[in-house]
C-alpha cells in the first residue's frame, strides 16, 4: 500500500526544494540551457530503454497501445475544450489553446512516475513509452482545428499557411524526434554497442531527473505570480482536468489494454499530464490571441506540481485498487 514515506523519494524532494527556493526568493538560478540539456538526456534515456524493451515484444502487441494513444490524444483535448467553454466559460481561442496542452503529455511527469514506480519496485509494461511519443502530437492538431472552428474557418491566407506549418511541426517537434529516434535506435542497434552506451543512462538517470525536477520546481513556483491572472475557476480546472485525464487513463490502461498496476499508472499519468515543451510554441503560433500566461501557468504552475506531488501516488493507488 501507499504511505507517506513514498513521497520521500529524492526526485520529489528535489522538486519541493526548487519550489521552496523560489518561494523564499533565493537567488538560486539554473543556467537557462541546463534544463534543456537535462531533458534531452532524459528523453533519449527513456527512448533507448523503451526501444530495447519494445524490441522484445511482438509488434502486433503494440497496436492496441498505439490506438489507445491516438484515442487519448485526439479525445482528451476535445473533452478539455468543452469543459473550458461550457463549464469554465472562457473564450474559445484560449479554450482551444489550453485544451491542446491537456491532450498532450509531459515527459517530465512520465519520468517522475517511472522513478516513483522504481522506488516501490513496481514493474511496468514498456508500451506506455511508445504512447508517450505518439501522444505529443495529436492534441496540437485538435487545438488548431478547434481554433479554426472558433474563428469560423479562420480562412485567411495567413491562417492556412500557419495550419500547414503547424501540422508539420506537430510531427517533427524536437521531443517527438528524440523520443521516436532513440526508441528506434534502442530497438535496432547492435546490442554490444548499446551496452557501451547504456551505463551513461543507467548510472545517471535518477540523478539527472532530480536536478531536472529541482529546476522545474523553481519554474513552477515562478508561475505563482500569474495565479491572479488565471483566476479561481481556471485554477480548479488545472487540478480537475488531470483527475479526469487520469481516470480515463486508468480505465484505458486497466480495461482496454489490460496492463498491470505499473503500466496502468503510467497510462493514467499520460492522460493526466499536460505538455509544457511541444505544445506551448505550437499554440503560440497557431492561436496568437491566446494568452501564454494562462496556458503556461496552468500546465507548468498548477498541473505539473499537482501531478508530481499528489497525482502520481493517487493514480498509483487507484491502479492498485483496480488490480485487487
Amino acid at each position: 500500500m501507499f504511505s507517506l514515506s513514498n513521497m520521500l523519494i529524492p526526485a520529489i524532494l528535489f522538486f519541493a526544494l526548487g519550489f521552496l527556493a523560489q518561494l523564499v526568493r533565493s537567488d538560486l538560478k539554473f543556467p537557462p540551457d541546463l534544463a534543456k540539456t537535462l531533458s534531452i538526456y532524459l528523453l533519449v534515456g527513456i527512448g533507448l530503454h523503451g526501444g530495447m524493451e519494445l524490441a522484445k515484444i511482438n509488434p502486433a502487441d503494440a497496436i492496441g497501445a498505439v490506438a489507445a494513444a491516438l484515442g487519448l490524444g485526439f479525445g482528451l483535448p476535445i473533452v478539455a475544450y468543452f469543459i473550458l467553454s461550457l463549464v469554465v466559460r472562457i473564450d474559445r481561442l484560449n479554450a482551444a489553446a489550453i485544451a491542446a496542452h491537456y491532450g498532450s503529455v509531459s515527459a517530465g511527469t512520465f519520468v517522475t512516475a517511472i522513478a516513483f514506480l522504481d522506488s516501490l519496485k513496481v514493474s511496468y509494461e514498456s508500451h506506455p513509452v511508445i504512447m508517450l511519443a505518439i501522444m505529443e502530437s495529436p492534441a496540437i492538431i485538435i487545438g488548431l482545428a478547434l481554433a479554426n472552428m472558433a474563428r469560423k474557418g479562420g480562412g485567411d491566407g495567413h491562417g492556412k499557411q500557419v495550419s500547414r506549418e503547424l501540422v508539420h511541426d506537430a510531427f517533427t517537434n524536437g521531443s517527438v524526434v528524440l523520443l521516436l529516434g532513440s526508441m528506434l535506435i534502442g530497438a535496432i542497434a547492435q546490442p554490444a554497442g548499446l551496452n557501451k552506451i547504456m551505463p551513461f543512462y543507467d548510472t545517471m538517470f535518477m540523478g539527472v531527473l532530480s536536478l531536472f525536477l529541482l529546476d522545474m520546481g523553481m519554474e513552477a513556483a515562478r508561475r505563482i505570480g500569474d495565479f491572479k491572472k488565471v483566476g479561481p475557476s481556471l485554477l480548479v480546472f488545472g487540478i480537475a482536468m488531470p483527475l479526469i485525464g487520469g481516470v480515463v487513463g486508468l480505465a484505458v490502461g486497466h480495461w482496454l489494454l489490460g496492463f498491470g498496476v505499473g503500466g496502468t499508472t503510467l497510462v493514467a499519468v499520460l492522460g493526466a499530464s499536460a505538455s509544457y515543451i511541444a505544445v506551448p510554441p505550437a499554440m503560440r503560433l497557431a492561436i496568437p490571441e491566446a494568452s501564454p500566461a494562462l496556458f503556461l501557468t496552468l500546465s507548468l504552475g498548477v498541473t505539473f506540481p499537482f501531478n508530481i506531488i499528489v497525482g502520481i501516488p493517487l493514480y498509483f493507488s487507484a491502479a492498485q485498487w483496480l488490480a485487487r
Binding site: 537557462p32 506551448p280 496568437p288 494568452s291 501564454p292 507548468l300
Partner: protein
C-alpha cells in the same frame, strides 16, 4: 558614410523565421539578431520558459525606401504576436568607401 534607417525589432523567437521571410521578400539582405532577450510589454513578461517563447532583438540597417516596406510588413506581425519596432536615423560606415 551614408545615411540609413536603423530598424530595431523585438519579437518572439518563434516569429523570427517569419520576419526574415518578409526581409527576403522585400530584398533586404542584412540583419543582426541577438537571441535570448527577455522583456515586458502589453502581453506581460516574456522570458524563455519554453524554447521559442523568449524574445530576440533584431537590428536592420537599410535605406529609407526599404525601411518603409519593412515597417509595413511588421505591422500585421506586431499586431498578431506583439513586440515592438523602433526606427531611427544613423550613418552607416559603408564597407567600401
Amino acid at each position: 558614410m551614408k545615411p540609413v534607417k536603423r530598424i530595431e525589432i523585438v519579437i518572439e523567437e518563434l516569429e523570427l523565421a517569419n520576419v526574415i521571410g518578409e526581409l527576403d521578400r522585400i530584398g533586404v539582405v542584412g540583419y543582426t539578431v541577438v537571441p535570448r532577450a527577455t522583456g515586458r510589454g502589453e502581453r506581460g513578461v516574456r522570458y524563455e520558459t519554453v524554447q521559442g517563447l523568449g524574445n530576440v532583438l533584431m537590428t536592420v540597417a537599410c535605406d529609407a525606401f526599404q525601411a518603409s516596406q519593412v515597417i509595413e510588413a511588421m505591422r500585421p506581425i506586431l499586431k498578431r504576436y506583439g513586440g515592438i519596432c523602433l526606427v531611427s536615423d544613423a550613418m552607416w560606415v559603408v564597407h567600401d568607401s
